[in-house]
């Protein structure tokens, strides 16, 4: 049997000390997203969150597999399902959680909130509450990298709903004609709030639309962090080599509602199936078992990792709770940058 076809064989990526580190890092970041968001559920029920949150639970492999293929020097933009992207990109949890609680210590000083997280220190140029709106922003970051002659790339997250926004098509065309180093990464979770992707998108796979822009388009198993990582790594390599943009579509699942706490009056998906996802397609459980099966990590090691991440999340919640609210005058700062030539 050739390498890569034996599901029990340790994948090349996870062989050796570096591979072991990579595998654990993928697990650590997926756990950070999951446990951070589980903490937000608790905060929601405790009445401590000022607004609804849009959870990435179920989509961790897509988010993390893509981000791990980049570095913190690379750029990234996201969408209203906002927490997973900066966490996966490497942002610290405390300032993110503080932002969700509207605190002065939040990444955006309490002005962005759950849907508009950004941490420029790790290349996270911001999420967007308007569907599709940040797609050209990532494209522009790719342009800047190209003009400056750096080897940075821009990772652009969007969902199946945004795949129908005109600005995606404008952006992919611009990136293609200028060969910009952009990776368009679609987290296709199957639903735009309640509307099925199969009823709102003209093709079975969004990735096929890449052909219209002369760029590679691949579909990956969004519940398999290694599959996502491999496809994104290839797209990043292509971008860094000056060969232009790519489109990666991860087929994934949103385990919770569009927004946590949102009550949808008419059922649009089968709840029994949704409930079974935790047993069948949970990316963290799947990766856990695979790591054990490959002998890439031991039970004790994974338990210790989970405990460490839980402590990190607990500390983030504590930090957020103890942080001060912004003073009222903060509402009037950050609108304009100081400028050179103003009367």
């Amino acid at each position: 049997m050739t390498e890569g076809t034996d599901p029990a064989a340790l994948p090349d990526e996870f062989a050796g000390p570096d591979g072991h580190t990579l595998a654990l890092e993928m697990m650590r970041r997926m756990l950070r997203v999951r446990l951070f968001e589980e903490a937000t559920i608790a905060l929601f029920h405790a009445g401590e969150l000022p607004a609804m949150v849009h959870l990435s639970i179920g989509q961790e492999a897509a988010v993390v597999g893509a981000c791990v293929a980049t570095t913190t020097a690379d750029y990234m933009t996201g969408n209203h399902r906002s927490h997973g992207h900066p966490i996966a990109k490497g942002a610290g949890l405390g300032a993110l959680m503080a932002e969700l609680l509207g605190k002065a210590t939040g990444v955006c000083g309490g002005k962005g909130g759950s849907m508009h997280l950004a941490d420029f220190s790790v290349g996270s140029l911001g999420e967007s509450g308007i569907v599709g709106s940040a797609i050209p922003v990532a494209t522009g970051a790719g342009l800047a990298a190209q003009v400056r002659g750096s080897d940075q790339v821009a990772l652009c997250f969007f969902g199946d709903g945004a795949a129908n926004e005109g600005v995606l098509h404008e952006s992919m065309n611009i990136a293609a004609i200028w060969k910009l180093p952009v990776i368009y990464f679609c987290e296709n979770n199957g639903y735009a709030v309640s509307v099925r992707a199969s009823e709102s998108i003209s093709v079975p796979d969004i990735a096929t639309r890449a052909a219209g822009y002369s760029m590679p388009g691949v579909v990956v198993d969004g519940q398999d962090v290694l599959d996502v990582y491999r496809a994104t790594r290839d797209a990043v390599a292509r971008a860094r080599a000056g060969d232009g943009p790519s489109l990666v579509e991860a087929k994934t699942y949103r385990f919770h509602e569009h927004a946590y706490g949102l009550v949808v009056p008419q059922p649009y998906r089968d709840q029994a199936t949704v409930d079974s996802w935790f047993d069948t397609v949970d990316p963290i459980t799947l990766f856990h078992h695979r790591l054990l099966g490959w002998g890439a990590a031991g039970e004790d090691e994974l338990r210790a990792l989970r405990d460490a991440v839980q402590s990190e999340v607990d500390a983030a919640v504590e930090f957020a709770r103890e942080s001060p609210l912004p003073p009222p005058e903060a509402a009037y700062t950050d609108l304009y940058a100081p400028s050179e030539v103003t009367a």
Partner: protein, 333 residues
């Protein structure tokens, strides 16, 4: 001095844009030009840019207004200083989400992490049968969006100086250029070599006077000056102020003048409702109430879309006669 030599030392609108862009691109390699038909210099303001600065910094955009503005926003966040030529101002509507959701809001929403030094140039292409889809004057809509700066020069030297300041500004600046000033009207004395900078937020007093303050925007400034000249024959002394920058507005200059004259007329080519004139009139009424001796009068474009037929079009815009009538009404109060 003969007419010929006077013309030779005058600067036109397109030359001003070209000189501003060239000087700032030379000064700062982060400045890049993007627009439709730039490399072929179809609109006349990009002569020599491609040859001087190369294809990496001078880019023809596809017809994708939203994508273009969003790309400029992202490029700015990642270290460039884009100047986007959107050509006709009516094309801003195709990019409205990007102007508002990204360009104007990113710095604020992200707590000051983002810096967006983007200049967007767009011509106000009204008069002359361009009709409903090309003749808009949409700058007041953007005055309603915090986070943007807006310049609207009425002379070529001001355009040069303001555009250079805008390119150096770390904020998004929208530069609206009144296309009626492209010809002889907008020409002005050629500034000496070297940096000619006009700071954003500084109005120009075009003419001093004592009886009434007329604030004229773009072409409206010329109508005000012409009206002032006609009224001078009747012994009416008109002060004419050109705001030059709409955001930030030079309120001290405007309010001081109106407090002194006690009367105010605003000439604004935008549609009447919620025009720049509306904001100026409201602010003057609030802050100069006790000094006012008559109503604040607006001369604006009537609230209709711009019709094509010459028989229909001209009547809807501000004219010299309308300004004169407005001054008389302000004086009669």
């Amino acid at each position: 001095m003969t007419a010929t030599t006077t013309r030779a030392k005058q600067l036109g609108f397109l030359q001003a844009i070209n000189r501003a862009q060239t000087e700032e691109m030379t000064r700062d390699e982060r400045v890049v030009l993007m627009g439709q038909d730039l490399r072929a210099n179809v609109f006349g303001a990009a002569a020599g840019a491609l040859e001087t600065f190369g294809p990496s910094r001078v880019r023809d955009l596809p017809l994708a207004e939203a994508g273009s503005i969003g790309v400029a926003a992202g490029a700015a966040m990642a270290g460039l200083r884009p100047v986007v030529d959107l050509t006709v101002a009516s094309f801003v509507f195709g990019a409205m989400d990007q102007f508002v959701s990204q360009l104007a809001k990113a710095r604020y929403m992200f707590g000051g992490q983002a810096t967006l030094p983007v200049v967007v140039r767009a011509a106000l292409y009204y008069h002359g049968g361009t009709a409903g889809h090309h003749a808009d004057r949409p700058y007041p809509m953007f005055m309603n969006v915090p986070g943007l700066k807006i310049i609207l020069p009425s002379t070529a030297p001001d355009l040069l100086g303001l555009l250079k300041s805008a390119i150096r500004d770390d904020n998004p600046v929208l530069c609206f250029e009144d296309a009626n000033l492209w010809g002889r009207k907008g020409r002005g004395p050629l500034p000496e070599a070297g940096d000619h900078l006009v700071p954003l937020g500084s109005a120009a007093v075009r003419q001093t006077g004592t009886d009434v303050t007329v604030i004229g925007i773009g072409l409206g400034c010329y109508l005000a000056v012409e009206a002032a000249r006609a009224l001078a024959g009747e012994g009416i002394s008109v002060e004419v102020i050109d705001p030059r920058t709409l955001v930030p507005m030079d309120w001290p200059t405007i309010l001081e003048s109106v407090s002194r004259t006690g009367r105010c007329v605003v000439v604004d080519p935008a549609n009447r409702t919620c025009s720049a004139a509306s904001e100026i009139a409201a602010r003057v009424a609030e802050d100069c109430f006790t000094d006012l001796r008559g109503p604040v009068v607006r001369v604006t474009t009537d609230d209709v879309h711009v019709p094509f037929s010459p028989a229909l079009e001209k009547q809807i815009y501000p004219t010299q006669d309308k300004v004169i009538a407005a001054v008389r009404r302000a004086l009669a109060g």
